[in-house]
Symmetry: C2
Subunit: 335 residues, 2 copies
């Protein structure tokens, strides 16, 4: 089988993980990654054997740093069937003409707006809608985490209303520039936060309001989720529905915080301690009449990674069945 | 007028503030405070001129540290009309026989259970119910903050349902022993948290569920509050109701976090940078049909302090009108 040729444009927090996950599949391969500067992340990409592409003006700097660039970013795009744009939020939009000129398919991340692609993707929610598409946006970590729990509940019980408070990590573990150090920041102050509308870019039928607080931690986000449903149910019914989803993991056994989830990910030898699944505290699932509550933790660095792989598979029409793609992706990365 | 004689048993975070607030009133006075060890807080109490009482076995240690104790804790209680118990949560219960033997009235803090006094107090909610009582519990910081916003809305619009997520400071500013340093801790994991039932100890008619997350900050708690009401309303209606409450303060003008609220309290020369009011971000008040949302910050160290003064005034029958007591307390402490 000819593998789909994938370029990863931007090799930061998301890009480096997407590259590894794509490389682990048997129906697609990374033909190159792009990096603007020859820093420590580029050095690791070089060690891992990825072909590195750079902006034309920086090719010389890579040479000097002992990691010869395979060419310019434009040359990388020419060679690809599909580009996964993992540049920082807001930058990706400027790359659209480049991809269209080269006639390649493109995936953007949740930092870009829905309109960039006209289709926002979550594998458990709308895989089939991405089949054969040229442009797709994979929604952000928080939106992915919400779509994964809302979709199956909506299918089984019918969702009436969702209310979520997100306690958001203020910065990623490698980010030394950002605060707060000791404060709680309602962000945005004006309600609702953008997460609710963003969920509706995938699940337009869902009535959802969200509020977000930025807090001094780097490991994971935590959501307090409240859902009103149309059907009588018990906590066991909810557990059964969540339990049927491969990208939802129940936590317990003394895991009392996000720190212990990450420690567990390290212990089970996950690459970069990644936790691709929503982590739901089973004990927190509480039903009161047709309304239930639970806590879930979301690993902002990695949760969208398998989603990008599934988006590629749908757009390249390598698999028409979403459930099969999810299973294939999971197996290849060790989920 | 003879002033009511108040003893403050326990001179930590809450006790030292209650002592200063009582001393600022013209109808009550502090006849003594108790401290177990002659540490830095005891030294400041000594400087401020409070009579210090100690456990019999530690009286010598105070003498040696250059701050002679005025007597034993039992002797302090004998001299008082009313004891405000500000010992750590769970310790206060053991003091009940001591107070009853001495025939003094007693106030406990929110760390004790409702049953210790049989009456849980919040000035804006049930001042009149405390008139002449011998035993009263002043509810905790979070419960106080919730009662202050729920009561006036329930009176004006009728509350159907309240849903709150509390982002709780993990430790007080002077607490160097506690974590988490870098994690989010759902606490408790099992929902709802105790705060909802605790609000019902003051407002039994209210349908409320609460979820709490412990996070790495020391300054203040932040609540995301959702209320369903029985009456159509606008954001301006809600602002008008909150604006009529002297212990609710709107924040804005570039205040984007708890850190800036505390900076503001320092700038306006509040003692110990205390913020006795609920701080509500006016901009966050958002109405959707008969349901509204907002953010409020709660200063855990000081919010219950004026409530303790009002509880004293009700129990000693120094003032029969709750609104007048609140006004008097506020004026004396500079709120």
């Amino acid at each position: 089988m000819v593998k789909a040729k994938i370029a990863v444009n931007g090799y930061g927090t998301i890009g480096k993980r997407v590259a590894d996950a794509v490389q682990a599949q048997d129906d697609m391969e990374v033909i190159g990654i792009s990096k603007t500067k020859p820093n420590y992340e580029a050095a690791v990409a070089h060690q891992l054997g990825y072909d590195i592409y750079a902006p034309a003006e920086n090719v010389g700097a890579f040479e000097k740093a002992g990691m010869r660039a395979a060419g310019t970013i434009e040359e990388m795009i020419e060679k690809a069937d599909l580009v996964v744009d993992c540049t920082p939020g807001g930058i990706g939009e400027g790359n659209k003409p480049l991809y269209q000129k080269a006639g390649v398919k493109a995936i953007w991340q949740g930092g870009e707006s829905h309109t960039i692609a006209g289709f926002s993707f979550n594998a458990a929610s709308n895989y089939e809608g991405a089949l054969g598409r040229d442009l797709v946006r994979v929604v952000s970590c928080n939106t992915t985490g919400l779509c994964r729990v809302i979709s199956p509940i909506d299918r089984e019980l019918g969702v009436k209303k969702v209310r979520v408070t997100l306690a958001r990590r203020a910065a990623d573990p490698n980010d030394v520039k950002k605060g707060p150090i000791n404060a709680i920041v309602p962000d945005p102050i004006k309600l609702p936060s953008h997460h609710g509308p963003d969920v509706r870019s995938v699940l337009p039928q869902i009535d959802i309001t969200t509020a977000a607080l930025k807090i001094p931690t780097t490991l994971m986000h935590v959501h307090t989720v409240n859902m009103e449903v149309n059907t009588d149910c018990t906590a066991d019914d909810i557990k059964k529905i969540f339990g049927s989803q491969s990208r939802i993991r129940f936590v317990g056994q003394g895991i009392s915080s996000t720190a212990e989830i990450i420690e567990f990910a390290r212990d089970i030898r996950r690459p970069r301690n990644d936790m691709w699944e929503n982590c739901i505290w089973a004990e927190s699932i509480t039903v009161h009449e047709k309304e239930f509550y639970f806590f879930q933790a979301i690993h902002q660095e990695s949760i969208v990674v398998p989603e990008n792989v599934d988006a590629i598979r749908a757009m390249m029409e390598l698999e028409s069945d979403g459930a099969k793609s999810i299973e294939k992706t999971n197996k290849a990365i060790g989920l």
